[in-house]
Amino acid sequence: MIKANGLVSITDCDKDDILRILDLAEQFEKHPNPHLLDGKLVATLFFEPSTRTRLSFETAVQRLGGRVIGFSDAATSSSSKGETLHDTIKMVSNYVDLIVMRHPVEGAARYASEVAGVPVINAGDGANQHPTQTMLDLYSIKKTQGRLDNLTISMVGDLKYGRTVHSLLQAMQYFNPTYNFVAPPELRMPEQYRLFCEEKGLKYKEETDLNAVLKTSDILYMTRVQQERFTDPVEYEKVRNTYTLRNSMLEDTKDNLRILHPLPRITEIAADVDANPKAYYFEQARNGVFARQAVICSILGLV
């Protein structure tokens, strides 16, 4: 159950929470409500910069009539003067109705939710969680497929460090997915998540070849392969080229296939894919505003 003290991890959400948030997101998309957050003040505390996520949250709040205060990186926050996270959160919770925070340290949002007097939404805590990203991914899947149940979802790229795929994998457990995990051996899905699938009875296959999963996929979830994950630059170049999606590869794919990517992309999706109607990553980002409006209003008890 999503708790009154916020949304920290997708694992806090049960099936009903997810379905309720997605229904709300759909309503916000269809019927914009410019006054729902009138008189509410939201803090966006970004202890590390993420312009994309911050703008999405701030758009979500302001389009509903709420106001925003905050900072966009740690250098302009009091933590740069050595203030503990505890004290920053205590101070800010005196001022606002809700805190949205991003922090490079894992578990920072959970801790903040325990000391804050107001609800906390985790906008990313290091490699750990980013639950509103998962909500927008789920919303994008539901919107493009018309359902969440019985889909074949192929996750591609950095499955070892990619928190978005880990959270999506956990959230989809309620909807009988079939997973394909496509990654080089050094970036394969960690044991913790493979065990999770086995425990929950979720079907999965591991592949190293992207072409092996294209024809059967309903969703292709691409992720960024970052150079810093590799000690050998030659190995990085090889992997980067192997896991690049090009338009020509999409010829024999299903009509309903949609390509998702949490963005920003580097080279893992070639520019010629953008014009293909199966490319969905830019709309996916737009869905983030509706998903975040749904989460914010749900936590504040306004819907």
């Binding site: 694992t11 505890h86 340290v105 894992e106 578990g107 920072a108 801790y111 290091g126």
Partner: protein, 153 residues
């Protein structure tokens, strides 16, 4: 001979607690984690005693001491095979089964260097996610770890 000697040690305790069946290699870790090296009560420590179950075992006997739940949790984490006997008037009046609690507070250190518990003054908390497999999860960074990987604070 050795077995009867162990009995003697146990029997000699009038009131207090006996921790028996400690794997020999864990004995001094338990002494240290429970801070038994600094307590004022009478304490008898035996190690490398013969044991049918463990090969070699350790025994700790402390007069007038009853362990708190968090101390028992520490023992359970380090030596789940240990047995706790409460002695009154030279008789074992209670045997306590060690079992891991659902939540382990402030005993373990998180192995994830990027965890908030290693970066800020925050007490650690682990949740037992799979008792059978002995799997724990950090309440904060959500890193899973098995009992064989734990690090005590």
């Amino acid at each position: 001979m050795k077995a009867s000697h162990t009995e003697l040690i146990v029997r000699a305790l009038e009131n207090g607690t006996v921790i028996d069946h400690i794997p020999a290699e864990k004995l001094f870790k338990i002494v240290s984690i429970l801070n038994l090296d600094t307590i004022a009560d009478q304490i008898t420590i035996g190690n490398n005693l013969e044991s049918k179950k463990l090969g070699k075992k350790g025994v700790i006997k402390i007069a007038d001491k009853v362990f708190k739940a968090e101390e028992l949790n520490k023992i359970a984490l380090l030596a789940p095979t240990a047995r706790i006997n409460i002695v009154k008037n030279y008789e074992v009046v209670e045997k306590i089964d060690l079992s891991l609690p659902e939540q382990i507070n402030d005993i373990l250190q998180c192995v994830n260097p990027m965890c908030v518990t290693n970066k800020q003054p925050v007490a650690t908390r682990f949740d037992l996610t799979d008792r059978k497999r002995g799997l724990l999860k950090c309440h904060y960074c959500e890193r899973a770890l098995s009992l064989s990987e734990i690090v005590l604070k």
